[in-house]
C-alpha cells in the first residue's frame, strides 16, 4: 500500500486543493459507446477531467504509462476484452487507485463481487449525474487512509496499522491471485488461511478469545474509551499472560469494525473487506455472525424450534461465513453494553463455557442458562469436541478466512453430529430453558435490526427467521447456526432481491453503494447510487400540460407542418439527420 500520493495535484495529507473536486482526473472505461459518451459528458459537467476508453487493455496501458495521471477509475463490469473485475484487481495491485464498478446488472452476486475485489463503489446503470458528483469522496478517503497509516507508523498502534496495511496488501494480492476466494472452496483451506493470516502477523500460537478474555478486553476498551483504546494500553489493563499486543490489536480492529457497523458508520472498504467479507458466493460474514448470535441467544432461551434444524442442515452447514469466534463475543458484548440486559450473566456462564474448548464457540450466548442446561450443552458440545477444537485452534486472530475454512471443512462432520444430537438434546433444553424470551429476543432482534438497520423490510423477515429457530439445542445451535446463517442468508437473498428494487427506488441519489460499508450486504442496497426508474410524472405546473391531452405527437407534427410550406419531410418518414433540411424554419 503506497503511502505516496498517486495524485500529483496534492500530497498524502489533509491538504486538498481549493478547487477540489473540480479537476479530479477520472478514467472511465466502458465498451458501450453510448454509455461512455454519456458518462464523459456527465463527468465533465461535474468539472472533472475525463479520459475515456472503451477497452480495458487500453485503460491499463494508459494507467501504466502515467501512474500518477489519474485519481480515480470508473469501469464497466462486462467488457469483451477483459473482465471488469480483473481490471479492478490489476489497478488495485499496480496503481492502488480507487475503482468504481458499474453495470446494468444489479444482482447481489455481482455487487458482492465488486466488494470482494476491492471496488470502492458500485454504480448501477443507467448512471445518473448525481451518482458521479460524489465520487471524489473515494479519492479523499483513500488518501486519508494512507495518510493516517503513515502518521501512525511510529505509534503504539503500529501493530494495528501493520495489521491493517498488510491485510490490505494481502487482500489485494490474494484477491488478485484468487486465493482469497478460491481458498474457501478447497480442502487445504486451513493452511491457506493460516499462511495468509500469518503473512500479516508473525507466526504465533492462536489466541482463543474466550468469553472471559473478550470481556476483559471490552472492559479495558471501555475503561480507556473506545477512541483512546490502543492495543498497548488494552494489553496492560487486561494483564493476561501470553497475550501479545498484536493479538489485541487484531481483536481491537475487529471490534471497532463491529461497533461501527452497528452504529451504521461508513467503513473503510479495505478494512471491512479484509476482516469480514466472505467469498463471493458465500454468506455475508458479519450478517451471519450477528445472525449466528441471534441464533445463540434465542437458542439459549429455547426459542429455536427443533424442526428448523432440518432446514438448517439442508441449507448447507458448510457454507456459512460465520466466524467461529471473533464476531460473536463482540456482538454479545455489544448486547451487554448496548442493551444492558441484566439477565445476561457472563460470570456464571463463562466458567462453564470456557472450561470446555467447544464452548468457545458459545461464548456469545447470554448466560441465562442454568447449570444443568450448561451440562446439556457440554454434553452435546463435547460430542462435537474434535470439531470444535479444530475450530478453536484456527479461529484465532485470523481473518475470517479461518473460520470460514474451518466451517467448510467441518460441515460434513457437523451435519452428522447435528443429526445425532438433535433428538437427544432438543427436548432437554426446551424443557429446561425457562428463560424469559423477551430480553433475548429483543437482543437478537435488535442485533438483527442493527445489522439490517437500513433495510427495514429484510429486518422483518430475518426476525421471523430468528423466531422460527427457537428451541434448538444450544450445542447444535452453535454449529447449526452456520446453517442458520445460510438460511438466513438465503432468506436475506430473497429479501434482497425483492427488496433490492424498492430500496433502490428509495435510495438517495447522492449516496453510493458502499456509503455504508457495513458488513451485511443488505446495507449495500439501502443507500446507493442505483438509479431509479421512477415513473415519469408530468409536472402540472409545466405549461405544456395546459394543452388538451389529445394532442398526439403526430397531431402536433402535422399542426406544425401545416404552418410550413413544405420543405420539411413528414414526421413519419425515416430520414437521416445529416441530411436534415434546415430551411423553412418559421420565425
Amino acid at each position: 500500500m503506497s503511502t505516496a500520493s498517486s495524485s500529483a495535484a496534492w500530497k498524502a495529507g489533509d491538504v486538498v486543493p481549493d478547487q477540489f473536486p473540480a479537476g479530479l482526473r477520472v478514467l472511465v472505461v466502458d465498451d458501450d459507446p453510448t454509455c461512455l459518451m454519456i458518462l464523459e459528458k456527465m463527468l465533465r459537467t461535474c468539472l472533472y477531467e475525463v479520459t475515456k476508453c472503451n477497452r480495458a487493455e487500453t485503460a491499463l496501458s494508459l494507467l501504466r504509462e502515467n501512474k500518477n495521471g489519474y485519481d480515480i477509475v470508473i469501469s464497466d463490469v462486462h467488457m469483451p476484452d477483459m473482465d471488469g473485475f480483473k481490471l479492478l484487481e490489476h489497478i488495485g495491485l499496480e496503481m492502488d487507485l480507487p475503482v468504481i464498478m458499474m453495470s446494468a446488472d444489479d444482482g447481489k452476486n455481482v455487487v458482492m463481487k465488486g466488494v470482494t475485489h476491492g471496488a470502492c463503489d458500485y454504480l448501477i446503470k443507467p448512471v445518473r449525474i448525481e451518482a458521479l458528483k460524489n465520487i471524489w469522496q473515494h479519492v479523499v478517503r483513500k488518501k486519508k487512509n494512507e495518510w493516517k497509516d503513515f502518521e501512525q507508523s511510529g505509534s503504539v498502534e503500529e501493530g494495528d496499522r501493520q495489521q491493517k496495511q498488510s491485510e490490505d496488501a494481502d487482500y489485494s494480492s490474494s484477491a488478485n491471485e484468487g486465493n482469497w476466494r478460491n481458498s474457501k472452496k478447497r480442502k487445504d483451506e486451513e493452511e491457506e488461511a493460516e499462511e495468509r493470516d500469518d503473512t500479516s502477523t508473525l507466526k504465533k500460537p492462536r489466541v482463543v478469545w474466550s468469553v472471559e478474555l473478550h470481556q476483559q478486553f471490552v472492559a479495558a476498551v471501555n475503561q480507556l474509551g473506545i477512541d483512546k483504546a490502543v492495543p498497548k494500553k488494552i494489553l496492560e489493563l487486561m494483564n493476561v499472560p501470553g497475550l501479545t499486543r498484536e493479538n489485541v490489536a487484531s481483536h481491537l480492529q475487529k471490534y471497532r469494525l463491529y461497533l461501527r457497523r452497528l452504529s451504521g458508520v461508513s467503513q473503510h472498504q479495505n478494512n471491512l473487506t479484509n476482516s469480514f467479507i466472505s467469498p463471493q458466493d458465500a454468506t455475508y460474514g458479519p450478517l451471519s455472525s450477528l445472525n449466528g448470535l441471534d441464533l445463540q441467544t434465542l437458542a439459549a432461551t429455547g426459542q429455536l424450534p427443533a424442526q428448523s434444524l432440518a432446514t438448517l442442515q439442508a441449507a448447507g452447514l458448510g457454507r456459512s461465513a460465520v466466524k467461529s469466534r471473533m464476531p460473536m463475543p463482540i456482538v454479545d458484548q455489544r448486547n451487554l453494553f448496548s442493551f444492558e440486559n441484566p439477565k445476561l450473566r457472563f460470570g456464571e456462564g463463562q466458567q462453564q463455557l470456557s472450561s470446555s474448548k467447544p464452548m468457545n464457540l458459545l461464548h456469545g450466548i447470554p448466560t441465562t442458562m442454568e447449570p444443568k442446561q450448561l451440562a446439556n450443552l457440554h454434553h452435546s458440545a463435547q460430542s462435537l469436541g474434535s470439531m470444535n477444537m479444530q475450530v478453536n485452534a484456527h479461529g484465532g486472530q485470523g481473518g475470517q478466512g479461518d473460520s470460514l475454512l474451518m466451517q467448510m471443512n467441518q460441515s460434513q462432520a457437523r451435519g452428522q453430529i447435528l443429526n445425532e444430537s438433535t433428538g437427544s438434546h432438543v427436548p432437554t433444553l426446551t424443557s429446561s430453558m425457562g428463560q424469559p424470551v423477551l430480553s433475548n429476543t429483543v437482543v437478537g432482534g435488535v442485533l438483527a435490526r442493527n445489522c439490517l438497520a437500513e433495510n427495514g423490510m429484510t429486518f422483518n423477515d430475518s426476525h421471523q427467521n430468528n423466531s422460527l429457530q427457537s428451541n434448538l439445542d444450544v450445542g447444535t445451535s452453535v454449529l447449526s447456526h452456520q446453517g442458520f446463517s445460510s438460511t438466513q442468508r438465503t432468506g436475506q437473498n430473497r429479501n434482497i432481491s425483492a427488496v433490492g428494487k424498492p430500496m433502490f427506488t428509495a435510495g438517495d441519489t447522492t449516496d453510493h453503494v458502499n456509503a455504508q460499508n457495513v458488513g451485511p450486504i443488505n446495507t449495500f442496497f439501502t443507500d446507493n447510487s442505483v438509479r431509479v426508474k421512477s415513473e415519469f410524472v408530468p409536472d402540472a405546473s409545466c405549461e405544456t400540460n395546459l394543452f388538451p391531452e389529445q394532442f398526439g405527437q403526430e397531431d402536433l407534427m402535422s399542426a406544425l407542418l401545416k404552418q410550413q410550406q413544405g420543405g420539411v419531410a413528414p414526421a413519419e418518414n425515416e430520414f437521416d439527420f445529416d441530411g436534415y433540411p434546415l430551411d423553412n424554419i418559421p420565425v
Binding site: T34, M37, I38, K41, P126, K533, F577
Partner: protein
C-alpha cells in the same frame, strides 16, 4: 408560428413519449446535460445509440438463427443492449430486454424469438418517435426544448 408556440409544441410532442412509457427519466438526464457547449447532445447520443444497437440487433439475430441456441451468448448480447437502452432512457425497449433475458435464463428458445420480435417493434417505434421529436427540436432550436416537466 410564434416561437413560444413552437416551444410549447416541442414540449407537448415529447410529453406523450414519457406518458406512454417510451422514455423514462434517464432521457431527462440527457437533456439536462445538453448545454451551449453541446447543443445537440441528446441527438448525438441517441444517434450513437442507434448505430451501436443496430449492430447488437444484428448479432442477436444471427445468434438466434443458430441451432441449438447459445443462451449464454444471447444473454450477454442482450445485457449489452439493455445497458445501452437504459442509458438513453428507452423504457419499453429496456423492458423487452428484461423479458428476453428471462427467456434466455429459462432456456426458452421460442420465448426468446418471440420477445425479440416484440423488442424490435418497440425499438422501431421509439426510433420513429424520437426522430420526429428531434426533427421538431432542430427546427425550433435547442433552447426551446428547455421546458421539461419534472
Amino acid at each position: 408560428m410564434e416561437r413560444n408556440q413552437l416551444h410549447r409544441l416541442v414540449a407537448l410532442s415529447r410529453q406523450p413519449l414519457f406518458d406512454q412509457g417510451f422514455l423514462d427519466e434517464q432521457f431527462l438526464q440527457l437533456e439536462e446535460l445538453q448545454d451551449d457547449a453541446n447543443p445537440n447532445f441528446v441527438e448525438e447520443v441517441v444517434t450513437l445509440y442507434y448505430r451501436d444497437s443496430a449492430r447488437l440487433i444484428l448479432n442477436i439475430e444471427q445468434a438466434l438463427e443458430r441451432n441449438p441456441l447459445d443462451f449464454n451468448k444471447l444473454d450477454i448480447l442482450m445485457h449489452q443492449f439493455k445497458g445501452s437502452s437504459s442509458s438513453i432512457g428507452a423504457k419499453k425497449v429496456k423492458a423487452e430486454c428484461t423479458f428476453f433475458r428471462e427467456n434466455c435464463r429459462a432456456g426458452n428458445g421460442e420465448g426468446c424469438i418471440r420477445t425479440f420480435q416484440q423488442l424490435k417493434k418497440e425499438y422501431a417505434t421509439l426510433r420513429k418517435k424520437l426522430e420526429a421529436y428531434f426533427q421538431l427540436t432542430r427546427q425550433v432550436g435547442p433552447a426551446e426544448t428547455a421546458c421539461r416537466p419534472k
